[in-house]
């Protein structure tokens, strides 16, 4: 559906994008992830035709964005960062205007506007001026304006910034629903969000794509430590000594002592081993009561940081 090939963007000597390539398939929800200044917004602006790349090709549904901009723009719904709205219009007027701009046939405008007003739960504010709305509502109005033309591709730049947790959940739910019929690209610097909604993640840093994969695979790719957390009642400080008694343990560290007297240890194990069964048996033998045992999975947060560090060390 969307294809970028060797896209660069230069501002004078500064390279905002250093030749990025990726493809988004029909019906995918893809997350663009990266720290501030990674080039996410620049990438989105190029796909939507708001700015022009210095070199490289961008096609949307096979249409070259530079050669046939209006045809390509018709396929795309774009919600820019910072949710720009026309202050002097009411919610309904704004959404209607967006439909007209996008070239929605006259007969369908009324119906489409009504539908997105319902979908974005804006019915009770539809006659309010957009300037008087709270941030969360503005975001939804902007999203509704994006959806009103029923575009094949939906591009959302930081769709959940500035929302309260309840609204964040709602927007995510909406995006997930949209992913069933549309191709969605969203940018974010919140990892948990991306891993929850997206089929694939594109991690960017300093104008480069440093990884493209599913959230699960990304986690796997970078996890190289196998750690088990155990919380035990350890009055005799026996746990540290278990290192010699059980095979495969690399290191045991005391993480913290809880108020109830139990202690939490981090046990680092050789990579491929699952040691939990042995741990349980051996601890029982030593009369150490296990209150909690958990295999640590590396979070996407860590994966992200690692990938970025790797990229920077290159």
């Amino acid at each position: 559906m969307i294809k970028l090939a060797n896209v660069t963007k230069k501002y004078g000597k500064f390279e905002a994008l250093k030749g990025i390539s990726f493809e988004v398939k029909d019906g995918e929800i893809v997350g663009l992830l990266g720290p501030n200044g990674a080039g996410k917004t620049t990438t989105m602006n190029i796909i939507t035709g708001f700015i022009e790349q210095t070199t490289g090709n961008v096609t949307v549904d096979g249409i070259d964005v530079l050669k046939k901009p209006n045809k390509a723009k018709k396929l795309i719904g774009y919600m820019p960062e910072g949710v720009p709205l026309y202050n002097e219009l009411t919610v309904k007027e704004f959404i209607k205007y967006m439909a007209e701009l996008k070239g929605v046939p006259k007969k369908e405008i009324k119906e489409n506007v009504q539908k997105v007003l319902e979908d974005a739960s804006l019915l009770d504010v539809q006659n309010k001026l957009t300037r008087n709305l709270s941030r969360g509502y503005k975001q939804r109005v902007s999203l509704a304006g994006t959806l009103v033309s029923n575009p094949k591709v939906i591009i959302l730049d930081e769709p959940t910034v500035g929302l309260d947790p309840k609204q964040v959940t709602e927007i995510r739910e909406l995006i997930r629903k949209l992913g069933k019929e549309h191709t969605v690209i969203l940018s974010s610097h919140i990892l948990s969000e991306v891993s929850q909604i997206c089929n694939r993640v594109i991690i960017m840093n300093k104008g480069e794509v440093i990884a493209i994969d599913s959230p699960e695979n990304l986690e796997k790719k970078v996890s190289n430590k196998n750690i088990v957390y155990v919380t035990v009642e350890d009055t005799g400080n026996k746990v540290i000594g278990m290192k010699e008694k059980i095979e495969g343990i690399k290191d045991i560290k005391l993480e913290k002592t809880n108020e109830d007297g139990t202690k939490k240890y981090a046990i680092e194990v050789e990579e491929t081993k699952d040691i939990r069964k042995t741990l349980f048996a051996s601890f029982a033998k030593e009369n150490l009561t296990i209150f909690e045992m958990k295999k640590a999975d590396i979070s996407l947060e860590e994966a992200f940081m690692k990938l970025i560090e790797k990229g920077e060390n290159k």
């Binding site: 035709g49 709205l85 219009l89």
Partner: protein
Amino acid sequence: MKAILKKELKSYFLSPIGYVVIGIFLLCFSVFFYLTVFAQGSVDLGALYYYTALYGLIIIAPILTMRMFAEERKTGTEQLLLTSPISIFKIVMGKLFAALIVVLITLLISLMFFAITKFFGNTNIISTLVAILGFILISIATLSVGMFASSITENQIIAGIITISFLIISLFAGSINTIFSSFTLIDFYVPFSYGIISLESIISLILFALLFITLTIIVLKRRKLVR
């Protein structure tokens, strides 16, 4: 284009701008009606439109145009506009026509001065219509200048000041050097105020407007590369 025109027009009248512009225009018309027709006992409305074009447009054009692109740029709504499947030419023309319509509304109201004069004397409808035609052309030209000014900055005030400065300087441009005389817009209006349709004036004013419309389009297209 229709969508943009409709929305722009709505914006003019949802904000005070539309009313302020019509108010200032009518004030100009009334003052000059008093000075030219009433005080001198003349039935010629050409002078009325001439002076309004000369002094009125200097204030009106910047007010009507300063927001056009500057505000969209500042609030970020230009992203919505420029990512929609409408060509920049149509966007520019939509906005220009909306501003022109506000002027047309005033010109329509200004016909009451014709009615008043007609009631008391024998004024010529043709020469009045020619004066109005010229007024429309010179409005398009000045509005194009203002639109261009609005496209090069995100600050409406600066856009307004550029427009006013340009229009004031253009008044004296001809007297500085004859090379600049074609920038003295008001000179092109003189034949119209005498009820003469001058082809030279029509072409000059249209070319003048086209120049600034083209410049606006170039600026907006260029910005795609440097934004």
